[in-house]
């Protein structure tokens, strides 16, 4: 539209990059990071309950990073993300439990589940390519429900509402991963790897394409981005991460049933990324921590718990609609803060 003003004297925000403030932000970031590292190191010394809560949070961080690719990077609202979580969880459950009498090793199932998840992502991606905004939201929601109902109804394979029981522990090279603390380390490593991959993707050519689609789909097409391919890639990669989270979840809980994959779960994951800050990996950590810790802290309040949680959710969003961590506070800024003296 119009050219920028020649005198930026009164333009708000132009001072945001000034040196003293930046130093403050840098110190805050460093302090925050230190706090996170201390927490992560301290978790293993807490009660098993605390470790279990940490495991839960990390699973949702994983899910959040996955969904963030579609919602945050590409700007498409996916309300059926839990379907991919279910694909992963049931793949592991069925291939490593007495249910079908199969007991494949974890390292064999993992790639199968991730590939199946990716295929499910593409399957969902196709019909929604033409849809935008809320139409896309409702179709993805429907897809999530379809997968859940299919699992619930296919009794002969999935044991229906009774779920798959006695799922195998993870055995890798003689190490058994079964205690909450084992999963804590496994999840920590997985989250770290996935976060780095997601971050690299965001900065890649593909990531730039996603950003273009998010800003303006028509314009993105106009500058030669293959939006079909980019969107399908987003759905597939996000689904693969969701499926991976599902595998770990199934191995951790050693029982999966359809009720773990309800619409509420999808919404919870969307909330995690929005409360944390859409499109921001750091935000996913913050969002998952807030949204999983709050119900735990409030657990003793029985009925009041959900009332308080609901109100807090609304208040948080009204006060900080852009999320607790703004997009500009991405990992790049964190890295920069660490590098610079």
């Amino acid at each position: 539209m119009a050219g920028p003003s020649t005198d930026g004297a009164r333009a708000p925000g132009s001072t945001a990059e000034s040196a003293p403030e930046n130093a403050m932000v840098r110190n805050a970031l460093r302090a925050g990071l230190l706090l996170v590292v201390i927490t992560l190191v301290l978790v293993p010394f807490q009660s098993t309950y605390a470790v279990r809560v940490a495991d839960s949070i990390l699973i949702y961080v994983l899910l959040g990073i996955g969904l963030n690719i579609v919602v945050g990077y590409t700007g498409l609202l996916d309300l059926g993300f839990v379907a991919f979580y279910a694909v992963g969880a049931y793949t592991y459950a069925l291939l490593a439990s007495p249910q079908l009498g199969l007991h494949l090793p974890f390292l064999v199932i993992l790639p199968i589940a991730v590939i199946l998840g990716g295929l499910a992502g593409i399957l969902l991606g196709f019909p929604v390519l033409r849809l935008r905004g809320d139409y896309l939201a409702i179709v993805t929601l429907g897809f999530g429900e379809i997968i859940r109902v299919l699992i619930n109804n296919a009794d002969t394979v999935t044991n229906g509402p009774r779920g798959v029981m006695r799922i195998d522990r993870i055995d890798v090279a003689g190490f058994t991963i079964s205690r909450p603390i084992d999963f804590y380390w496994l999840l920590l490593v997985t989250v770290a790897i996935v976060a780095v991959i997601a971050f690299r993707l965001e900065k890649s050519i593909l990531g730039k394409g996603w950003a273009a689609i998010r800003e303006d789909q028509d314009a993105a097409r106009g500058i030669g981005i293959d939006t079909t391919k980019a969107k399908l890639a987003a759905f597939a990669i996000s689904a693969m991460i969701g499926s991976l989270a599902g595998v770990i979840f199934a191995a951790f809980q050693r029982f999966v049933s359809p009720e773990s994959f309800s619409l509420q779960e999808s919404i919870l994951i969307v909330l995690i990324i929005v409360i944390g800050g859409v499109g921001n990996i750091l935000g996913v950590f913050v969002g998952a921590t807030v949204l999983l810790l709050l119900p735990e802290i409030l657990r003793d309040y029985a009925e009041l718990r959900m009332l308080l949680l609901g109100l807090l959710m609304a208040v948080l969003i009204v006060l900080r609609p852009q999320g607790l961590v703004p997009r500009s506070f991405g990992p790049d800024r964190l890295l920069a803060a660490l590098r610079r003296r």
Partner: protein, 241 residues
Amino acid sequence: MLSIAGLAAGYGRKQILSGIDLEVRAGEIVVVLGANGAGKTTLLNAVSGMCRINAGRITFKGTDITAMRPDRIAAAGLSHCPEGRQIFQRLTVEENLVVAHVGRGGKSFETLREEAFALFPILRERRNSAASRLSGGQQQMLAIGRALMAEPDLVMLDEPSLGLAPKLITQIFQIVLDLAAAGISILLVEQNVRLALELGDYGYALESGRLRVEGGAQKLAADPRLAEVYLAGGDKGAVHA
């Protein structure tokens, strides 16, 4: 009628206008000129409260309207015929008029509607058809007719001639003259410099969000700096489009 002093305005963090002083007197036609992207539309939006004002003061009929809400400004008698006409496509012609009738001057809707139909007889013919089915010229007429429903003291017109056939342009401008003759002040943003200065009493030329030249219409038409505005602004506009 309208006076602007030291105005700086823009959208969000982007500042577009700065240091604007402008004056429209009663019954006068004032034209705002400038290349694409010079900030003309932003100027009108700033007056009607549609963008962020960072500094300066806008008074209308002696009242400070700088921080006022757009609907209050319109209800105070300052109509804005926006860029691209902004007709409600899904409403009928008559419904478009209904929306704009805010009951300011006390005239009934029927009276005002008849006045608008008298100005633009074609609107009477098409009163019940969806506005989306009107031609560009008819839509422009509707936009002006609609702006008059608030019984305004001042009408701001944003490029009313854009995309219209020459014959229609003449017709529209004739009506602008009639309105001014009836005592309504006009603030006109126009691309067509020659026509605008023929029509107007006074003119301002913007360049990159600042005032470059101003003066009586004839004097301005002869001012060599006016051409520079378009040349310089044209380049800038091309760069920042």
